[in-house]
């Protein structure tokens, strides 16, 4: 099986188990406080990491930014103006394409 199919199969099964865990647990008890205080921080940590990971690339000597940095900036401005996600997505694509054309 290729890397792609292994990734898809394992992700699908584990996601199913994760989503089923809460509803299967009896009586709708909640997670212990110390567990939920960690799990609720996983998403913000990972998302911030992905933003960095997708904007910069390592080239052996250090980190370089490419046209996607312009896209990130545009999305940040749009989100700061409290416009919907769709506007941020369009702005990011447009700014990335534009920066790539100019580079």
């Amino acid at each position: 099986m290729s890397d792609t199919w292994i990734t898809i199969a394992v992700l699908a099964v584990c996601t199913l188990i994760i989503k089923a865990s809460g509803p299967l647990a009896l009586g709708g008890r909640s997670l212990p406080d110390h567990v939920s205080s960690v799990t609720r921080l996983v998403a913000p940590a990972l998302l911030a990491s992905l933003v960095v990971y997708e904007t910069l690339s390592a080239d052996g000597t250090g980190l370089t930014a490419d046209a996607r940095l312009a896209g990130l900036g545009a999305a940040a401005v749009v989100l700061a103006l409290r416009l919907p996600m769709m506007a941020a997505v369009v702005a990011a694509a447009a700014a990335t394409a534009l920066a790539r054309t100019l580079a």
């Binding site: 292994i6 992700l11 994760i18 989503k19 921080l41 998302l47 911030a48 990491s49 749009v78 997505v89």
Partner: protein, 220 residues
């Protein structure tokens, strides 16, 4: 007590998010095709059905990372469904297997739409709102993976920038106090520090360690 709702009310509540989800689905299909082929991205959208995790796994695979790093990156993002599942559990009905099946309807959008002011959840809205989400996400992936070539080079129209906007908008929704801000900052720092020398995907997985901040002096 809120008025009881029905599934069609949930479907209507989910409609405003159809267009952005469709656009993300198309982006995912277009970007995944060169890495995974045409069929795998569609299968993935059907059985994994989680935008953030799929984009994360794709980022790792596209950067040359192995399946383990891709799986871990995707799963860590999907860990958020664990506390979300416990939160909605009291609203679900039926035998354990039926409740587990209803739990599969959990996605970010439906979770947000179905939450009531008092912290409880509306089962019909949750189940209903997921229907247009699934149609848009899977349909968008099909369009991107099968007809993506009509869009030309995805990079020339900036489709790879879509990832960033999606992550950033989810991040803005997640960061709502000092702790989440601190975790986000530390996650970004860990990634920055590891990127120059760690293998692809590892800097993202390692960033999850920032969540251990939650163990420190848990305040209410």
């Amino acid at each position: 007590m809120d008025q009881p709702n029905d599934i069609p009310a949930g479907i209507r509540a989910g409609l405003p998010l159809v267009l952005p989800t469709l656009a993300l689905g198309v982006s995912f299909g277009v970007l995944a095709k060169p890495v995974m082929g045409s069929v795998a991205p569609i299968v993935m959208s059907v059985i994994v059905f989680s935008g953030a995790a799929q984009f994360a796994a794709l980022s790792v695979l596209a950067a040359g990372g192995g399946p383990l790093a891709a799986i871990v990156a995707g799963l860590l993002l999907n860990l958020r469904f664990l506390p979300m599942g416990f939160a909605v559990a009291p609203a679900l009905r039926g035998r354990p297997l039926a409740r587990a099946a209803q739990g599969q309807a959990l996605v970010d959008a439906s979770f947000a739409i179905a939450s009531r002011q008092d912290g409880s959840f509306d089962r019909e809205i949750l189940l209903g709102a997921t229907i247009p989400q699934a149609a848009a996400w899977i349909g968008g992936t099909m369009i991107g993976a099968l007809a993506g070539s009509v869009f030309g080079d995805p990079r020339s129209i900036g489709l790879d920038g879509v990832f960033l906007a999606f992550y950033l908008s989810l991040l803005v929704g997640e960061v709502n106090d000092r702790r989440t801000l601190l975790a986000a900052g530390l996650g970004a720092l860990i990634t920055l520090a590891l990127m120059p020398f760690a293998p692809p995907g590892v800097p993202v997985v390692a960033a999850a360690l920032a969540a251990l901040l939650g163990l420190r002096g848990s305040r209410p």
